[in-house]
Symmetry: C2
Subunit: 222 residues, 2 copies
DNA sequence: GCAAAAGTGTTCCAGATACACCCATGT
DNA sequence: ACATGGGTGTATCTGGAACACTTTTGC
């Protein structure tokens, strides 16, 4: 089967920056390439947009194919279209980023035969194509959104302590925050609910557990 | 000449939201469509990305073809790719927006035979395709950027008064600002320079004229 | 009782807001 | 002299930043 056009058409892909928080570190998912170019390099998961498929649907499909995850936060990041970013043919990539709570990962062990792994954003291997640029922009967007939205809550499991939430902020920002100021600001946002439950975790005072009031929605603040 | 691929490829275009300020109103450029679909409707200027052309270069080319303008602020907005946004074939559009100072318009009277015109953003005709969505997002982005960047300066001519700059802010925000607070904040940004010149404009005190310290650059503030 | 994380208030400072009058010019 | 837009300062409010000790548990 062949598809013929009067003028040359580029290929269009979506590439996914899939973030999670593990071990108090911001991490993202990479797949090892099995073919040329950049054979054996690590790359962002992604693939071609089907001819009748919405861009966001394509991104969601890639996400599910690689991780089995559905129903998480997804946002279009930027479109990368330098003429020679892929040496094979002209490929324009619409990049998305997704935020996955740590208790949602490993729902599916792995995708097909491909080797996939989580990497700390602070310690990435060298990436195929222009994917290092895409990651840098995604991390920058995420960091910026921490300051004017409730996006960090998208990383939280059903129940969580305020210390855990603060660690999420600190992992993304790469900096420490003052505990009292953090709690004051968070509570003023009125976006989390005290569940009344506590979690006994070790030889210290138990933590009160909170839940997100509107899971799945990201509000702008200030 | 024909171009054949093993899998179907979408067409990729750039669409341009070209803003200016005229008569204390935020306006944008539209072109009247000469063919189906949406024959005779107004639409954003745009066109197909050439196979070896960078996306931003394509946007700049469209801008120059429609207006003769070069060297103005340009930023990628969003990529629109709903499967049926163009009834003819699958078209994915990478939208950009540009800001043109009013003294730069009409450098070239018009493009080819096409009918082009400036419209007030507050009073647009109905637009072809999903262009109303694109315009809404561009206006929203521009409004947001007023509050955390020096983007408004991209609308200013070589020399301008503070009242003129304030009118630019008011046109975009659609709201009045306090004169004293506006001036205090602007001067604190340290991004405009007192030229020492004044402009005599009518039967009232002349206005001091300022110029942008770093034309072409947009800085984040706060 | 001791180690370890959870929880809690006040003071201070900077930036935003509200607000009213004089100035320089043309007619 | 008067009409018109240009230009200026102060008081107040609000949100962010800095900062240290008590509580509850497991061992």
């Amino acid at each position: 089967m062949a598809y013929t056009y009067q003028y040359p058409h580029p290929a269009v892909t979506t590439d996914m920056v899939i973030f999670t928080i593990r071990g108090q570190q911001l991490e993202l998912l990479l797949v090892r390439r099995g073919g040329e170019p950049f054979m054996n390099s690590w790359a962002l998961p992604g693939g071609f947009v089907e001819i009748d498929e919405d861009l966001e649907a394509c991104a969601l499909r890639e996400l599910e194919e690689e991780t089995g995850i559905t129903g998480v936060y997804l946002e279009q990041l930027y479109t990368f279209g330098a003429p020679n970013r892929d040496p094979r043919e002209r490929v324009i990539s619409v990049a998305y980023y997704a935020l996955v709570p740590p208790d949602r990962i490993n729902i599916r062990a792995a995708s097909d035969a491909k080797e996939v792994a989580w990497f700390q954003v602070r310690n990435l291997p060298s990436l195929a194509f222009d994917h290092a640029n895409i990651v840098a922009m995604a991390h920058q967007r995420l960091t910026a959104k921490l300051n004017y939205s409730t996006i960090a809550l998208q990383f939280m499991p059903e129940n969580f302590s305020l210390s855990e939430l603060q660690q999420v902020y600190e992992s993304i920002l790469g900096d420490r925050l003052d505990k009292r100021n953090f709690r004051k600001r968070l509570m003023a946002l009125d976006c989390i609910r005290d569940t009344g439950m506590v979690r006994r975790n070790g030889n210290h005072r138990p933590a009160r557990l909170y839940s997100v009031k509107s899971p799945g929605t990201v509000e702008f603040i200030k």
